[in-house]
């Protein structure tokens, strides 16, 4: 019986390792290709015989990649800050204030989760056009400034904060906004971190809306840039792989730093959703 158990464990490790290789291999192939020169790119060696940084130099010196990188960073950061602020504020209000229409408002906000983005992009596009937002960062960011899912998450967390704490502060004369900012927010830091990370990744990777609304190459986000860069006819595979690598590396670093929160975030989205 014990022998069988050990055998099972060993085969489990073998199976999991094979799968791990399958999951990681495309990344390895991408990086390996990005260090090959145009003469070697069509060979199948995993390690480049003549590794070169030329592709990276090209990407950073002769294309708009640095600019796209900054665009993505800026957009992801601003939307994330906005989401953190508004979602926690609304979550707090919905969790800790009693007022007419509370339930209705909560249900209305939750129901927006059912509306697919695809249904909204055409009206958004018309809005952007009519309000002359074309070509601004704001036009890319505005749909994501508040997230309904984040509100839901925040409300769940805020509900666990004891009321006594808030009432005590109120008696001490702390302003309502002060209570939210100084007392409530520090208590939900872990949840905020998770929301921040998820929102950042989501915005960094967003494709459909930035593809529709960005007009000049200077305004592209990284994914849109990679797509245009790659679909231009005279592109080379080593450069495409380099572009893909450049858009992936920050996320992998980000991921390695925040892996715990990311796993926790996914779990939260699953078990409470």
């Amino acid at each position: 019986m014990i022998k069988r158990d050990r055998l099972l464990t060993v085969s489990a490790y073998i199976f999991l390792t094979i799968f791990a290789v399958l999951m990681v291999f495309p990344f390895i192939w991408m990086f390996s290709s990005s260090f090959k020169d145009s003469g070697e790119i069509y060979e199948f060696n995993l390690f480049p015989k003549y590794p070169t940084l030329y592709n990276y130099q090209y990407i950073f010196n002769y294309s708009l990649f640095p600019r796209w990188f900054l665009n993505s960073l800026l957009i992801a950061m601003i939307t994330t800050i906005s989401v953190l602020f508004f979602d926690s504020l609304i979550g707090y209000t919905l969790a800790k204030f009693d007022f007419p229409g509370r339930k209705l408002i909560f249900i209305l906000i939750l129901s927006t989760l059912m509306i697919p983005t695809e249904m909204l992009v055409i009206p958004w596009y018309i809005m952007v056009r009519n309000l002359h937002w074309m070509g601004t960062y704001w036009s890319i960011m505005f749909p994501g400034m508040i997230s309904a899912f984040g509100i839901f998450l925040m409300k769940q967390f805020m509900s666990t904060i004891p009321n006594d704490l808030i009432d005590a502060a109120r008696i001490d004369g702390v302003s309502e906004f002060g209570i939210y900012f100084k007392i409530v927010l520090p208590l939900v830091k872990p949840a905020l971190a998770t929301l921040a990370i998820f929102n950042f990744i989501g915005n960094w990777n967003a494709f459909l809306w930035p593809l529709i609304v960005t007009s000049s190459p200077e305004m592209y986000t990284l994914p849109v840039g990679v797509a245009y860069f790659s679909s231009e006819n005279s592109m080379s595979w080593e450069l495409i792989m380099t572009g893909a690598a450049v858009s992936t590396v920050p996320l992998i670093i980000f991921f390695l730093i925040f892996q715990k929160q990311i796993v926790k975030g996914i779990t939260m989205s699953g078990l409470k959703g």
């Binding site: 596009y125 056009r129 002359h132 074309m134 190459p217 245009y228 006819n233 592109m235």
Partner: protein
């Protein structure tokens, strides 16, 4: 005191706007292509030197959503005064109220017919009026890889001149692996690239047909000449002769650049890209003829005046001057040198006939036709699908060709009914 200060500022603002108003400012839009952008900037500088009272603002957009940007900006009143547009879009722009006819006193019929190739003056006409002027035009030619010719035992300086030779050479130039997979294409077969133009305007005419009626409202390629033999010829190269297939190495340009395709049919705009590839020795020749018939496909982008410019007579005047300047022989020469696109003026074109690179394209212009695309991506899709149907689905060329004609007719009908 405070009030006085505010007044002073207001006065200042008023004054500065006054001095600016002395200069007429017009806005020019084109799609983004690096060398084009640089060249236009250079031309604008020259133009502003010649006309110190005019200022031109230059804005570019990516090709992919050019139409979208125009459509969203002109009604909002923030659009351009002069716009660079594909000639196939002229009817749509005119009937939507975006374009005005070129003033006849500045652009007479004689001027247009003498200074430009005949396919140009036909392409810019709509309901008897002329709407836009090109700087340059494009045509197709056959590119070949000299090294691969040598390896196949062919004379590297003698490209095929007829379709029969083309097929024969392509077969000799194709290399397969043990399993029969192509590892080197004899001829690229990429309808999504320039291939669909080659089928539509070159092969159809060489097989005795006419692609469309002269008013561009009716598809004729299934009813004239050898009909579906055109498609059969093209797809036979893929399925029977196996000299190449769509998507080999992703696309034709990648394959030719990587020296994995011996011949390709491509446009004059590719020269710059190919010049950059180290170790690639290529030549360029006129498209192969068939039964003595030569044909070529030409297309162009042209500069038109929008309704925006009519708000102010000074703007209109500046726009007219600018368009004329852009289509002058001097601009065309610079354009050829920088962008690699061909002069739209036949007299000027003749000066370059002996050029080893541009010569083939320019001679091709003499017998070129421009397709009047109403929805280029949809019409390209029709040809891609026709080839895919035969190659991937095994549908007979007759059926696929007829369906293509029906599909494309639908696209045309849709367009023409929307602009009544």
């Amino acid at each position: 005191m405070k009030r006085f200060f505010v007044l002073l500022v207001l006065l200042g603002v008023l004054l500065t706007s006054f001095t600016f108003a002395a200069k007429t400012k017009i806005t020019y839009w084109q799609y983004f292509y690096e060398t084009k952008k640089i060249t236009i900037d250079q031309l604008i500088k020259e133009f502003e030197k010649q006309n110190p009272d005019i200022e031109v603002e230059h804005v570019t957009f990516p090709y992919a959503n050019y139409n979208q940007k125009v459509a969203s900006s002109i009604p909002a009143g923030v659009g351009p005064d002069v716009i660079n547009l594909y000639y196939g879009w002229i009817p749509k722009y005119v009937t939507s109220g975006y374009l005005i006819p070129l003033p006849e006193e500045d652009f007479s019929k004689e001027y247009l017919q003498s200074q430009f190739f005949s396919f140009v003056s036909k392409g810019i006409e709509f309901n008897g009026k002329y709407y836009a002027l090109p700087i340059a035009v494009r045509s197709l030619a056959l590119f070949w890889n000299k090294k691969l010719f040598e390896q196949a035992g062919l004379d590297p300086e003698k490209p095929p001149t007829t379709l029969q030779e083309l097929v024969e050479y392509a077969k000799r130039l194709t290399v397969y692996d043990k399993k029969g997979n192509i590892v080197q294409e004899g001829l690229t077969m990429q309808p999504s690239g320039q291939g669909h133009h080659w089928i539509r305007e070159v092969l159809v005419r060489q097989f005795g047909g006419v692609p469309y009626t002269s008013d561009s409202r009716t598809v004729l390629y299934d009813k004239t000449g050898a009909g579906s033999d055109v498609l059969k010829f093209y797809t036979d190269l893929i399925t029977v002769d196996k000299v190449g297939y769509p998507g080999f190495m992703n696309d034709d340009v990648t394959a030719f650049k990587a020296q994995k395709a011996a011949m390709t049919i491509d446009g004059s705009f590719r020269i710059g890209t190919l010049n950059k590839i180290k170790g690639l020795e290529w030549g360029v020749a006129e498209l192969p003829s068939y039964m003595g018939v030569k044909s070529n496909f030409a297309s162009f982008w042209a500069n038109g005046i929008t309704t925006n410019a009519t708000q102010d007579p000074k703007k209109l005047e500046a726009a007219v001057k600018f368009i004329k300047f852009l289509s002058s022989p001097e601009s065309m020469k610079l354009w050829l040198k920088n962008v690699g696109e061909l002069p739209a003026n036949p007299e000027l074109a003749k000066e370059y006939y002996d050029d080893p690179v541009y010569g083939a394209f320019l001679r091709g212009l003499e017998y070129a036709h421009a397709t009047f695309f109403v929805d280029e991506s949809a019409q390209r899709q029709v040809m891609m699908d026709a080839v895919d149907k035969v190659v991937l689905k095994g549908i007979s060329p007759e059926v696929a060709w007829r369906e293509a004609a029906e599909e494309e007719q639908k696209v045309l009908d849709n367009f023409w009914s929307s602009i009544q």
